[in-house]
């Protein structure tokens, strides 16, 4: 196991380097002059301009720029935006907001998703099963910005149950966007739990458990569920990584100042260093959660051995 983890970590290094390099190259070929944009309408003295170009290595060829940036990353330096604020600072400020949103989405999708999946799976082709299949498909089909709008209009404006946008009102402001964000994953979790449970209910060991005279609840709840949850846990792990990377669309619709919003603002304002810094962070989070999921997979399922 230890050798497997070390090998995976080593494999991650080139993937990480090339992925960030790609983003870096794209961002710094954005049209426009960011230094000029900084001054706005005012005149900018040539010396100030030169100093800024110097500071952000804008005169170097792209590979050299990237090399200097990567060297900074090794020291934990994600760069600074053009106003001199460290990107790690922005991440520190935005991550808790994104994490709260992710937490709401995650709890929502785990509980309702698994529950709906079990209820649908235990009685295949029953009424509840059809209901779950159709409703999950519907949720998956509605693009998240449409779903967000609908939720805003219905639960925020018409019914007034939740704040419409922003995070001014503490935890309750995260509920509605969190549920919208988690809804698509909820649908996938429910479908995955259902199909995995149906597969396992047909297995020999389940028949054995029933033949031993165990109650239906114990057969489903303990014997079948234990195996059925393995693929669900895998999916949830990867999804958590995606959630922590910030949700650009949901954060835009609900006006939540999280990581996704920060990276999108960076793109619009052509703040290349912000975009690259936060994206690098997101890629790191994503890669580590994927690794954790693979390890978790082996822990949960003794049939899988990495050697």
């Amino acid at each position: 196991m230890a050798t497997y983890i070390i090998r995976r970590l080593l494999q991650m290094i080139p993937v990480f380097i090339f992925a960030t390099m790609l983003i870096f190259a794209m961002v710094f070929s954005l049209p426009g002059d960011p230094i000029r944009a900084l001054a706005g309408e005012r005149a900018q003295s040539e010396s100030v301009r030169q100093a800024l170009i110097e500071e952000y290595n804008l005169d170097d060829p792209l590979p050299v720029q990237y090399g200097k940036y990567a060297a900074g990353l090794l020291r934990g330096d994600f760069g600074a935006n053009f106003r001199g604020r460290p990107v790690s600072d922005i991440i520190k400020q935005r991550l808790p907001i994104t994490a709260r949103l992710a937490a709401v989405a995650f709890v929502f999708e785990v509980f309702l998703g698994v529950l709906a999946g079990i209820l649908a799976g235990v009685r295949q082709r029953g009424f509840f099963d059809s209901l779950v299949l159709v409703s999950t498909l519907t949720v998956i089909s509605i693009p998240i910005f449409v779903l967000g709008f609908l939720a805003q209009v219905t639960f925020g404006l018409k019914l007034g149950w939740f704040p419409v946008a922003g995070i001014k009102q503490g935890w309750i402001s995260y509920l509605l966007p969190g549920m919208v964000l988690g809804s698509v994953s909820l649908a996938y979790v429910a479908r995955l739990t259902r199909s995995s449970l149906i597969d396992n209910l047909g297995a020999d060991y389940v028949r054995t458990a029933t033949a031993k005279g165990l109650t239906r609840g114990r057969v489903v709840g303990v014997h079948a569920m234990r195996n059925s949850l393995i693929p669900v846990v895998t999916y949830l792990g990867i999804d958590l990584g995606a959630l922590l990377g910030g949700a650009i669309v949901t954060e835009t619709v609900f006006n939540i100042p999280g990581l996704g919003g920060a990276v999108f603002d960076g793109v619009v304002r052509q703040e290349g260093t912000t975009v690259v810094g936060i994206t690098t962070f997101i890629i790191l989070v994503y890669m580590f959660t994927t690794l954790l999921v693979d390890i978790l997979y082996a822990v949960l399922d003794p049939r899988i051995r990495y050697d």
Partner: protein, 304 residues
Amino acid sequence: MTDLETLDSADQGAIEDEDLAAIREGSLGSDAWRELRRRPLFWICITIIAVLLAMAAFPQLFTSLDPEAQDQRNGLMFPSREHWFGTDLFGRDVYANVIYGARVSIVIAFVVTTFCAIIALIFGSLAGYYGGWIDSIISRITDVWFAIPGVLGSIVMLQMFETRNIATLSLALIVFSWTTMLRLTRSAVLAVKHADYIDSARALGATDFRIIWRHILPNALTPLLVYMAIFFGVVIAAEATLTFIGVGLQKPSISWGLIISDSRARIQTHPYLLLFPGAILSMAVFAFILLGDLLRDAFDPRQR
């Protein structure tokens, strides 16, 4: 046996093998077709998709109104007999806009799905069939692209272009979404590569290209086909999403994403501006995802 005879019999063998493959494939396909034909949901899907395609090709069939005709005096009118979906701020007919908006969605989804599938077929089968260093290179490149979150990558890339149109939007979507199809094709090719009929085709002297094209791909295509149907729907949603947040198509293009983003300021007083376009967009996505689901069920022998 002379050389000529060897050649001759090899050729015959190949033909027989081919016929067998055709029968096999045909029976799997016809089984699936029989399964599909019986399901009402399948016909609902097909109808929605046919209507969408007709809208994309001949929008004039569905409305006689000009989607761009402005009529300021009749702005923000609620749905009525003349304007089924109401009118927007400038008095443009929302229904006509929704009809004309189908075209870009369908075109982009078609282009992106086709290109991703071509990339996946070529490089996925090369990686799966040859293995070794070819596989290592292709798989590592895939890993790199896979590590970049798709929406984020597309947004950054789209910002590189001064003007954005169907071509740039398709490109940005292709560049950040081919990885899943490639992985699917690669593993499907790996799964059938060691089958006996592949060995016999090779023993009979079939070229690598022929083995991949005639023997491996027909048996490895099902997962890709299922995913393509679902992916088509996902691309329609992705196009609308990117356009909605402002990095996709720009006016004067007519796109569902633009119509919905225009409705934003007025959803409280005029919810129909969001509801109708949103419903049509979701229905389009729904039809393709459901089609993928039905195809998977029909081709999966475990379900029978």
